[in-house]
Symmetry: D3
Subunit: 135 residues, 6 copies
């Protein structure tokens, strides 16, 4: 159970600002399905508008990285942050964007390797090589 109310479509229809965002989500994604994250954010119209606006700009607009790569990066962060909902929703999004089983298998292998070497590096407190400092 969430700590906030999840807005039904009927409730959304009663708030013009929220309805406008939901309309844009549906139009942008070409799907009638609006997942619980947005129904939870609907409790704060300003937060809903800001979050959807940024997500649309970052994840939907065409850019230098393809959509599937962006989803893999999203799942990677969500995994390390232990966000179960986010792992589920973005893994589903990655599949919808064409992720194959072979790609997912390699993704998991990289995430596992990173989890292992992150732990080893932190436990040994390895100092950064000067060669890596280019900033």
């Amino acid at each position: 159970m969430s700590t906030v109310r999840l807005w039904t479509d009927a409730e959304v229809a009663g708030d013009a600002r929220v309805q406008a965002v939901f309309d844009d989500i549906r139009a942008t994604r070409r799907s009638d399905f609006v997942n619980n994250f947005w129904r939870a954010l609907a409790n704060d119209a300003a937060q809903l508008e800001r979050t959807w606006g940024a997500l649309k700009q970052v994840m939907v607009a065409p850019g230098a990285l393809d959509p599937l790569t962006k989803e893999l990066i999203y799942i990677a962060v969500s995994t390390a942050n232990g966000c179960s909902y986010c792992v589920h929703s973005h893994t589903a999004a990655a599949r919808a964007k064409g992720m194959t089983d072979a790609q997912y298998g390699e993704f998991l292998a990289v995430v596992g390797m990173a989890g292992q070497t992150n732990a080893l590096v932190t436990a040994m407190q390895v100092p950064v090589d000067p060669e890596f400092l280019v900033g």
Copy 2:
């Protein structure tokens, strides 16, 4: 400073198992540079062999994901885990594999979005939509 000794090339030369791994790292990467992570792992030859063996299989061998995508996934996990060394080393690796400034900018935007929505989802304890459960 690390919690373990970082092996110099001279020390590596005195241990055949460690030397063999360092030789393979140099040959595989076509570079004489061996970074501190491996010099720290050199204190335990079995761990060094196991870690390099797995990394080579996961990150170097050709597969369904291109090498740059794998590096981006690696940086994403390392960022969420707060591993400074890992962020530095894999960002350098991504640049070496051709990451452009535009790609890096989008990568950062996705990582930032994921950090934000992970926090919002966890704070609101949003329940997973049944539509995402395909396992």
Copy 3:
């Protein structure tokens, strides 16, 4: 399911040290309800006494921060640590201490901003400005 037994009131009644802590929790909170965290800690009377003693001193005793602010800090840490139980229990506590929907909305916005900028800062490894170093 927990990894330890959750003590019922009947079981608590059979252990004088545990019963004394439960009595103090009920008296301090002016409520008969004792939540599962304390029923789990009851398996180790010393740990139960130490944890309740510290929590009472930190969260209940009057001080320089008001009780609601302390709960918001608690939820913030629990969110970043991904502790679902802690998010639920302290969000309920914040509401019981008068948190309004507007306050909660702003709290969520700050937690989201922090999640985003933490990720960006760590990914870019931004060095601390000398102006911030006052210690």
Copy 4:
């Protein structure tokens, strides 16, 4: 060292979009000092505008939570995420907004308690009490 270039004021002056954000940061904060986070974000004007726009809306605009409380929430998240830069910058901001030593001492105590009980709850996998589920 950061993974990106930190823009100097001279470099900022050469990019109208970046300069406009820096001008607004200075005007909003009534200070000439612009910290490294913004100098790092300057590498991507869209990300700079989006992040400052959201931060201004969330942290600066008057609302239901006072500015100091927002900073304490920010430090709490940054601590749990292990973001050293963020801890430093927002602790400095909290002091600038009037945080007393007594308030900071209590803040630290709450953060420590949360760190402890988060760990205990997760290790024992305590199930959420039905009384907390109000969503």
Copy 5:
């Protein structure tokens, strides 16, 4: 629900590489029970072989640390990473290896102390004493 299919014994029987790993898990643990982690990894035979091979070498082979100590370290990491499944499976493994209630109580106390002092240290950004730098 998992993001991947959990292989049944019948499905395992249809893949010789997967079957070989499952046989070795059962023989090594002297138990017919194979837990869900391996049934999930079965979707990628190379990952399954690599992970079981490493786990067997690290956790099962006799060494300088006794098996129960290794399990306690494993639960400690899993707790801090917020991995519910891992906490459950390794706490069960620790009990199977003889962990007493008194040992578990002390383990929880240490994990709680570490959670608290980690948070305090990070919030105060305590600099490392030169005395600790021996690497």
Copy 6:
């Protein structure tokens, strides 16, 4: 640099409550060295007393786990939490309590395995086996 002042011995001598804790730390550890963590906590005498009191009870008093095992658990949590200071101080403590290179090597291997499998389990959202639920 820390966010708080690190108390020198001269400053400690001017505060009876702080001095009493420092005396007990020195007597308990049979060493004149008091590390920075306590010098930072000295800014809040109540927090200093409470933290040292709990740490002494948990880490120093004889119990069901030997002192080295407790230190290994402490480093494991500190590693996963990314607390550099804590990793350094408790690794030094573990060595002082007799940790051999072989034990440390195995510890690192377990921490690395846990980091890897935690990531894999979270990414795949593996459901807990009913066999593990004994609470």
